[in-house]
């Protein structure tokens, strides 16, 4: 399998909690053969349904962080002046770096006259290659309050692609993060199709429009699926109309059903249970696999 023949589907939403992970897990079960990638690296949940057996575990280091050596520091305060991220803290005599605020730009390190600032590599989390009942999976978790979620997402995607090439698997299915910022851009750019899962609410519509604009910005084809449609069917109509006028495709709808939570509790994908909502998701999968 060469890279250009591998299709990549990412499930996004804009708004959080619309059902991305439940739908991704169901697609993983329904797809004949796929590599799974969990790109929601700071609150990843796909592993709770797919119960991966970890085969490889890698430390994710990205960038550096500044650290003031209190013995070498002369207290001149230049670091405070040059830092644009409000990361240098002082009590008037002593200076230190707030690791949470430090962006790792290295400007203080370079300009410190006493060369008193260390700049070690920053460990931001870890990524793993695992085996699941639905095929191989690449997943990660970002360290608590860590930076560089976009780079970790890119790492997950690169590893998923390498795995697809190696194992001759023609499809990658990614569970994306919410929002439209850095990790979403890292999940979205260059994929074959983004399926945007939304819910029929004013927030769902608003957030959908921003994700669709982002996908247009990166020239990624999109399809929209309204989940929990029966919470507000008029809003579901409005959302589908908005999707079409933004040039996105639409799929059939998925109903709101408490059995989705029941599946979570049993660590199953929704389609592994015999329910009406499972049929809805099967229908969506048939349509999405046609679009890929």
């Amino acid at each position: 399998m060469i890279k250009k023949h591998i299709r990549e589907l990412v499930i996004l939403s804009g708004k959080g909690g619309t059902g991305k992970t439940s739908i991704t897990a169901s697609f993983a079960v329904l797809a004949d053969k796929a590599v799974l990638a969990d790109c929601d690296v700071d609150a990843s949940d796909l592993h709770l349904l797919l119960k991966p057996e970890v085969e490889q575990r890698h430390v994710f280091s990205s960038g550096h962080e500044a650290n003031i050596d209190q013995i070498e520091c002369t207290g001149c305060g230049l670091c405070l002046d040059v830092c644009r991220f409000d990361a240098v803290r002082t009590n008037g005599t002593k200076y230190w770096i707030d690791p949470v605020a430090c962006e790792g730009c290295g400007v203080c390190v370079r300009f410190c006259a006493a060369e008193a600032i260390d700049f070690p590599e920053r460990h931001c989390g870890e990524w793993m290659i695992s085996d699941t009942r639905c095929g191989p999976m690449v997943h990660a978790h970002l360290g608590i309050a860590a930076e560089n979620s976009g780079k970790l997402v890119s790492t997950v995607r690169e590893q998923a692609l390498a795995l697809a090439v190696k194992k001759q698997i023609p499809l990658i299915i990614s569970d994306g993060p919410p929002g439209i910022g850095c990790p979403v851009i890292a999940s979205l750019s260059g994929v074959s199709l983004a399926l945007v899962v939304t819910e029929p609410s004013v927030s769902g519509l608003h957030d959908l429009q921003r994700v669709l604009a982002l996908a247009r910005h990166f020239s990624v084809p999109t399809a929209v699926c309204v989940n929990k449609w029966n919470i507000n069917s008029q809003q579901a109509d409005r959302i589908e109309a908005a999707a079409r006028s933004a040039g996105a495709g639409t799929t059939s709808r998925i109903r709101y059903d408490r059995s989705v939570t029941e599946a979570q509790l049993q660590q199953k994908a929704v389609v592994e249970m015999d329910t009406a909502v499972a049929d809805d998701i099967r229908q969506v999968w048939r349509q999405v696999s046609q679009m890929l």
């Binding site: 644009r84 949470v100 370079r110 930076e147 919410p178 609410s201 910005h217």
Partner: protein
């Protein structure tokens, strides 16, 4: 945090870990039932939703910009000092040419400072907008990221800078635990974590609690869509000594009212009472934690 002189009014961040647990719904209804003038800041700048509910006119719109470098090709000698300093490959030296990649630039200003010939200047680029509105007792602030921009924290900082010091503030945070959440929680005094009793909800709550503890902030829990607790959420909260200030039942009416963009506390009076009670309990917690109302 870190206040000198006059004590500022409390800043309460509403966060969650998992998306879609009801942060915005809780922030809005808490603000509506706060019982005194309050500020409500929409810090979920990637997907700001608060004003879909308040529908207030926004004034005092301001652009949020970031400074990106520009290279004067005549002055640039191609020495490469800027590229060597840059940790993000935002500026790259290719022989005599120096190229800037704004999408990678963090705006640290290091290249400008290091350039020996003064060939680098900075120009502001639009990354988002902030605006202010008023809805009854609520002073509303919103940040909105430009679509296609990846750097989120500066827009959140711009929202925080608009907060007044003498009125309590509720900050509606983005989901997750990464830098945009930290940008919201930093310099807050108290955190309300909203979750639901599902496996995803509990898993992500634990991540959120770890983040809050790393920042050394006190916090309490609001449980949304509370039905039968099959995951041991309440047991976890008791073990971790996290007070549960409100449990909202898994009532379809809440979802319906919220889907239309209405406030639960106003459309469903019984829930209005519950949010008033939440405000009262929260104020008690805040006073205990030494916060100023």
């Amino acid at each position: 945090m870190a206040v000198e002189g006059i004590k500022k009014a409390v800043r309460i961040a509403v966060a969650s870990g998992k998306g879609g647990t009801g942060k915005t719904m809780v922030s809005l209804n808490l603000a509506a039932m706060f019982g005194q003038p309050v500020q409500l800041a929409d810090c979920d700048v990637e997907e700001p939703n608060v004003n879909l509910f308040l529908r207030c006119e926004l004034f005092d719109r301001r652009e949020v910009t970031m400074l990106f470098p520009e290279v004067d090709v005549i002055r640039c000698t191609g020495c490469g000092a800027c590229a060597k300093l840059c940790q993000f490959h935002g500026i790259v030296s290719l022989g005599a040419r120096t190229l800037v990649f704004p999408e990678l630039c963090h705006g640290c200003g290091g290249c400008l400072r290091i350039c020996p010939t003064g060939a680098i200047t900075e120009r502001p680029h639009l990354i988002g907008q902030v605006a202010v509105g008023q809805h009854g007792n609520i002073r509303f602030l919103e940040g909105r990221l430009e679509v296609g921009v990846s750097v989120v924290p500066p827009v959140i900082r711009a929202v925080r800078e608009l907060l007044l010091d003498d009125i309590p503030a509720i900050l509606d945070a983005p989901p997750g635990t990464s830098c945009s959440v930290v940008a919201t929680l930093r310099e807050s005094d108290y955190v309300l974590l909203v979750t639901d009793p599902t496996p995803f909800g509990l898993h992500d709550l634990k991540l959120a609690v770890a983040t809050v503890r790393q920042l050394k902030l006190p916090c309490a829990i609001v449980v949304n869509r509370a039905g039968e607790d099959q995951v041991g959420l309440y047991h976890y909260c008791r073990t971790e000594k996290l007070p549960v200030l409100l449990s909202l039942s898994d009532d379809r009416q809440i979802a319906e009212v919220t889907s239309r963009g209405d406030l639960v506390a106003r459309a469903l009076p019984e829930y209005g009472l519950m949010f008033a009670e939440l405000a009262a309990k929260l104020k008690q917690e805040l006073l205990t934690a030494g916060c100023q109302l």
